[in-house]
């Protein structure tokens, strides 16, 4: 059970990092919407689980938060990548690409080496 959560949390963290990298500082709601948009609305995110995940990343020092004002003039808490977060993003991106490449080779049909 723990392994399952880890994988899921790991991918969520990666999505959060990537979102913050491309969009700059963003509030929780924005992050959630952005992830759904990028996934072509194929991922349905339970927003309630996003906030504990953000808190965890903040506690680990990969992201930092600050209160600010949103586009439509609302007070909101903005999250941004820290330097450590950027490094982690690079590393996790590499790991993930490697993992998917390996998995892709397994799943590719008919090319089994002798």
């Amino acid at each position: 059970m723990a392994a399952k959560t880890d994988v899921w949390q790991g991918t969520l963290a990666l999505m959060v990092f990537k979102t913050l990298e491309s969009m700059g500082p963003l509030h929780g709601y924005g992050i959630a919407r952005r992830i759904e948009q990028i996934s072509g609305n194929q991922l349905s995110l339970n927003y309630g689980t996003l906030y504990p995940a953000l808190l965890k990343l903040e506690q680990e020092g990969s992201i930092a938060s600050e209160w600010g004002v949103s586009d439509n003039n609302r007070k909101a808490k903005f999250y941004k990548l820290t330097r450590a977060g950027r490094k982690q993003l690079e590393r996790e991106t590499r790991d993930w690409e490697q993992a998917t490449a390996i998995l892709a080779r397994f799943l590719a049909p008919g090319e089994e080496p002798l």
């Binding site: 309630g48 689980t49 504990p52 949103s70 439509n72």
Partner: protein, 887 residues
């Protein structure tokens, strides 16, 4: 690293709760507003938009809870809230809390304090390198397991043994130190040259005694104790090489011992010299005045070493049958030798303290159980609201922890004060022999012990209610039932049984301590009432040491004796004065080996105490003459030699004969040693109060002079009054003579190690027993009172059916009576067992002393009846109508 960081932050989350809650609410609020606004923009009605946003979030409270769990450490937070809850609960039932904490603190304080003594005296390693290899080495004789070594025997042992890396000897000595203010007797240690090396002690300043050949005795050099160096020589470095005059001889200071150096057997020694090779004792194989200390070779066991020395001893016995007959060897770890006197009493006190702690624990356990019984309803409510069993256990655990931590804090405080108090009870002249007590205190071992006791108590006090909850198997399932009807009788019986058993245990333990206290008190009484053979009241004593160089000849020594006796005899209030080499109630020892003219002799050593006394001695101390006559002052070295013996000697060696006129000599009946028996006295207690009477011979001081002796004065007023006048009176006529240890005979007896050990065990165990009795009785009261409250209905029915007050009283008292009787029987059996184990500490009383056991049983029974009388009275007052209505 990352994990550590988040843990620290989460731990920090425990404190700034308020601001975090507000921030979390704000963030979720702004999230919802944005989401609702988006939804409205997408064409929903405001209600739909709000509903959709909330569903997507999965509920505000659920989200908050998820964030909360992440932002702190939930289990720790539970613990903290439990902790606060426990504090509130305990404050609510403050009587319970205070009682439990005080009882437990008392038990812990006493046992920690006693353990600190045990630690300092028995556990803490001696302050020497590799102390476990150090052995106390002595000879043994048929009469004594361990007796002193003679110098010549020592030399042979040292030379021929293969078990010891090094073997050295020491003995106590005294000098007259010529201080600027006049002659002053000082304590000294006399040792073989390698002594300090064997211990592993290097001098703080200067050097050790040079290791000479076996013939030892580089005399003329002295080492100073650190204290002496500071006090007498101002701590100056140029003390090295300085001359010091000790008993008229000049010694050169060659070294100063370190401040940390301690050697318990010679704790008070100020000056350390080597054993003088020219003293007459050193030259005689039969003169035993040395103690050995040796360092075992690696890998050699005590048994092997003992076998080695025993073989040498029997070789010496063959070689010197006259002096070495039946002389064996004895080896014990030096650490045991150091604490020999204290070990048995400390073990008894530790046992007593452990019992007291046990009673306190049982008492608090039953309090905790009674409380958990009373909290059934509360627990039922909690279970009904969804508390898991483990959650309830955590609650018990935190409550136990709060209790025990409070009790530990108070207990440690009590222990520290108790240690000081106990330390102050030790007679001053015993302190130098217990240097290890200087470091008495909260050592890490003592703290570890206290910690272990606390942890055990926490486990006990949280396990007990949890177990109680599970064991009363129906209880858990019946909790709902309990909630509904408030029915208390179903599990009440189970609790009553358990509570009763605990009370029986408590009473039995209290009985053990009470019997112990009774036996020790009776021992002490017997000890103080022991037949001394003389009158100890109104006797003042002072030790006198005259320099050998000026007073060694019989004429000068006798002149000194006569002048001192007439001078002190002239002091106001003094009735008579006498001199003895060793005063009564000192020790069995300083013996001669004797044989009797005209009696067959088998070569065995007939060991008898030997004291040189002036002609006034027996009348002054109040000894009674059984036959013959006392000495006259005229019997000096010009007259035929005479001797007075005690009745024990007469009975042992002259059974059914008249010893008057018979003759005693040494083992070879050397003509110069032959003395004629002129009198038999009724036994005078020469040795310790609890020691058996040895055969004794008394020589006239005038025929057997000495320069070290004790002067005894019988006074008409209080003997304390004359003590300050004794020293100055002697110095007024003999400024070069040293005096020390002014004391009264009763003071000496009271402060003797024997009396101290008996007295402290009597008082301490008595104190333990008083507390134990109180706790046991309170426990009994609790159980009976509870039982009465449970049986209110039954009693009401009985009374409604016509039961008289008397029969209700009888019913309650009978219940208490059974518990008390069970406790007494169990306790008496355990007490006899415990007393048998420690019977060596008893004097003049057997371990199954019926008088003590019956007296204690009566006390316990009476106290139990008293404790049950109050609830019985309450039971008899039950109004039947009320009782039936309440149920």
């Amino acid at each position: 690293m990352k994990t550590l960081r988040s843990w620290v932050l989460r731990l920090g989350g425990l404190v700034r709760k308020q601001s975090r809650e507000a921030e979390m609410a704000d963030e979720l609020q702004s999230h919802l507003e944005m989401h609702i606004a988006d939804n409205v923009r997408a064409g929903m009605t405001p209600e739909e938009a709000r509903r959709a946003a909330l569903m997507k979030l999965g509920g505000v409270e659920a989200a908050k809870e998820a964030i909360r769990e992440r932002s702190t450490l939930p289990f720790l937070e539970n613990l903290l809230s439990d902790f606060r809850f426990s504090l509130r609960q305990l404050r609510k039932s403050s009587v319970f809390a205070v009682t439990a904490v005080v009882v437990l603190a008392l038990g812990m304080g006493v046992s920690v304090a006693i353990f600190a003594f045990v630690d300092a005296a028995l556990i803490k390693p001696l302050p020497y390198p590799d102390p476990t290899r150090l052995m106390a080495v002595t000879e043994s004789s048929p009469m004594l397991r361990s007796t002193n070594l003679s110098y010549l025997d020592y030399l042979d042992w040292k030379q021929y043994n293969t078990a010891f890396r090094s073997l050295d000897v020491y003995t106590s000595g005294g000098f007259l130190y010529t201080a600027p203010s006049g002659a002053e007797p000082v304590r000294a240690g006399k040792v073989s040259p390698g002594f300090f090396q064997t211990l592993g002690v290097a001098p703080h300043l200067g050097q050790d005694f040079p290791a000479a050949g076996d013939r030892a005795g580089e005399t003329g050099t002295v080492m100073l104790s650190h204290r002496t160096w500071q006090m007498r020589f101002g701590g100056r470095n140029d003390v090295l090489g300085q001359p010091v005059t000790l008993s008229g001889e000049v010694y050169t200071v060659i070294g100063v011992l370190p401040a940390s150096f301690q050697f318990a057997p010679l704790g008070a020694a100020e000056f350390w010299t080597t054993i003088a090779p020219k003293s007459s004792c050193v030259a005689r194989r039969s003169c035993h005045n040395l103690y050995g200390v040796g360092r075992l070779k690696d890998g050699v066991t005590i048994q092997a070493a003992l076998a080695n020395l025993t073989a040498i001893a029997s070789q010496l016995e063959r070689q010197y049958p006259d002096s070495n007959r039946d002389r064996g060897a004895s080896i014990v770890p030096f650490s045991e030798e150091v604490a020999r006197n204290l070990r048995p009493i400390l073990m008894v006190l530790m046992g007593g303290a452990a019992l007291l702690l046990l009673i306190a624990c049982v008492n608090v356990s039953s309090l905790v159980l009674a409380r958990s019984e009373a909290r059934k309803q509360e627990m039922a409510v909690r279970v009904a609201l969804g508390a898991s069993f483990s959650r309830l256990c955590t609650q018990f655990l935190t409550e136990g922890m709060v209790l025990v931590l409070a009790a530990s804090a108070l207990g440690l405080f009590l222990a520290t004060s108790a240690m000081e108090a106990l330390k102050n009870l030790i007679p001053l002249d015993m302190v130098p022999r217990m240097p290890f007590l200087a470091e008495l205190g909260m050592s890490e071992r003592v703290l570890a012990y206290a910690g272990a006791v606390s942890v055990l108590c926490i486990i006990l006090f949280s396990l007990a209610p949890a177990l109680h909850l599970t064991l009363s198997a129906k209880a858990f399932s019946q909790m709902q039932g309990g909630l509904m009807t408030g029915n208390r009788s179903s599990t009440g019986n189970g609790w009553r049984r358990l509570g009763s058993r605990l009370v029986v245990l408590e009473l039995a333990l209290a009985m053990v301590l009470l019997v112990g206290a009774g036996l020790f008190s009776k021992s002490l009484y017997r000890l103080m009432q022991v037949d001394l053979g003389f009158r100890a009241d109104h006797l003042a004593l002072i030790e006198v040491a005259a320099p050998d160089s000026s007073y060694e000849t019989p004429e000068r020594s006798v002149a000194l004796e006569r002048n001192l006796i007439s001078k002190i005899g002239g002091l106001p209030g003094v009735q008579s004065v006498a001199i003895t080499t060793i005063p009564p109630v000192s020790y069995n020892g300083n013996t001669d080996w004797v044989r009797f003219v005209g009696k067959p002799y088998d070569g065995k050593h007939n060991e008898v105490n030997e004291r040189d006394v002036s002609s006034e001695y027996f009348t002054t101390v109040g000894a009674k003459l059984a036959r013959g006559r006392f000495f006259t002052d005229a019997e000096d070295h010009t007259k035929p030699k005479v001797v007075i013996i005690n009745q024990t000697l007469a009975a042992k060696y002259f059974p059914g004969e008249d010893p008057i006129g018979r003759q005693i000599g040494d083992t070879k009946l050397t003509p110069a040693s032959i003395r004629t028996i002129i009198g038999v006295i009724e036994d005078v207690r020469d040795g310790a109060l609890d020691a058996e009477i040895w055969p004794a011979t008394y020589h006239p001081f005038n025929q057997d002079t000495s320069t070290d002796f004790t002067l005894i004065a019988r006074t008409s007023q209080k003997p304390e009054a004359i003590l300050p006048a004794l020293g100055p009176a002697i110095h007024a006529i003999y400024p070069d003579v040293g005096t020390m240890s002014e004391s009264t005979m009763e003071g000496r007896m009271n402060n003797s190690i024997t009396a101290y050990l008996h007295r402290s065990s009597a008082w301490l165990v008595g104190g333990f027993a008083a507390v134990a009795l109180l706790l046991g009785i309170v426990g009994l009261y609790g159980v009976i009172a509870y039982s009465v409250s449970q049986r209110t209905r039954e009693i009401g029915v009985r009374m409604a059916l016509g039961a008289q007050h008397g029969s209700i009283y009888r019913m309650v008292m009978k219940e208490a009576g059974w518990l008390a009787a069970a406790g007494v029987v169990l306790g008496a059996a355990s007490a006899i067992a415990a007393a048998t184990v420690s019977r060596n500490l008893l004097f003049g009383v057997s371990s199954w002393d019926a008088q003590t056991i019956i007296a204690v049983a009566v006390i316990l029974g009476a106290a139990a009846m008293l404790a049950s009388f109050v609830p019985a009275k309450r039971a008899a007052r039950v109004n039947p109508v009320e009782a039936l209505r309440t149920e």
